[in-house]
């Protein structure tokens, strides 16, 4: 089960933040086909946001074919976004971890490393 975080100062609408977090968890393989999303009531209890916002996010995910509501049971993942090579333990992830270690050893801060990684990614894709 994933847990949502709502960043109130981000300027991104709350329902979009929820959609992004579900997709990110799918990309990372943290949740997969058949897994249940938290109920609106659970999300509300944890975040104090409007339950309609949660339902709106789930409707949008349903429209994209990623989840399906099962009446009386909840909302479940229908399709995964995880790429088999995109896991943190897959060879690419292990290589990247080694790179991050070398960056830290070279004295780069987190922001330096992120900026460098982003610049390389931007140039590649």
């Amino acid at each position: 089960m994933i847990q949502f975080r709502v960043d109130r100062s981000s300027g991104t609408p709350t329902y979009v933040q929820l959609i992004q977090q579900v997709k990110q968890a799918l990309h990372m393989g943290l949740i997969g086909v058949g897994d249940q999303l938290p109920t609106a009531k659970d999300v509300v209890a944890a975040t104090a946001i409007n339950p309609n916002t949660v339902l709106k996010a789930y409707r949008e995910l349903e429209r994209e074919g990623l989840v399906e509501p099962r009446p009386g049971a909840g909302t479940f993942i229908r399709r995964s976004l995880a790429h088999p090579d995109a896991g943190i333990d897959a060879p690419l992830g292990v290589e990247l971890a080694a790179w991050a270690r070398r960056a830290a050893d070279a004295g780069l801060g987190r922001e330096d490393a992120e900026a460098l990684a982003k610049a390389v990614i931007d140039r590649t894709f």
Partner: protein, 303 residues
Amino acid sequence: MTEHDDLALRATGLGKRYRRGWALQDCDLALPRGTVAALVGPNGAGKSTLLHLATGLLRPTTGHVEVLGRPMPRAGIDPKLAFLAQDKPLYRGFTVEGMLRAGAALNTSWDAGYAAQLVDRGHLPRAAKVATLSGGQRSRLALALALALARRPELLLLDEPLADLDPLVRREVMAELMGAVAETGMTVLLSSHVLTDLDDTCDHLVILARGRVQLAGDIDTLLAGHRVLTGPAHQAIGHIPSEVIVGIETTTRQATVLINDPALLPGPDWISQPATVDDLVLAHLRTAAEQDAGDRAVLGQSA
């Protein structure tokens, strides 16, 4: 049953005139069922008048209100409507337990189990007197009573439920309220002059100023229809058509303009950013205040 069965609240041409003048005028409002709507505006804007008219306890001078798709009952209030007034209706000398018993004794549609559940969830000490409770505890008790009163209402009207509460307690009370919305699917209309926390908890916005509705609608739709432009002050007039300008603020060099045409970009020197609820509310209230000042100036000239 009427054709507006999907609406929790519908006001048509609603107006109320007191001896001192109009408190509310030409108010048209449609609140779909299941929405959580924020009613915002400065003090004296007509928020309380609108809420009281919606309960049916106050009779309109013009127009009419429909609640849950049916006209107002001739006497009393709709059995599925609950209203929590600003001066929370609690007896200071009563204990929490006493308030629950009074609620049960005074109301035919009292849901005792639900009231007890809400009181326990809020960790309210049953034996404590109302006078000794904190502001937050009092708010939670009043909310519990309002929710139990109509046996889980379908429309809940709250007049300034968050006033006088510190940020942490405000969040707790809103969490309680949102929990009730998730459980029951009820519609909520709450007035507030505090903007914080409304973004996440409300999906509808009604801006009231000078006794009139300035803007009303689904928040995401309203936000998608507006942009905030920042650019050189000398280009603001002329480069942006005046009919799309909702609000404008200028320093000697820079202008910040709220527009209701999301596609417009006046030139390369301008930056367009998404609008926030704060931007919408502040721009409309500022414009209303300027009109107010303008009216007074005109009155002053003619006198």
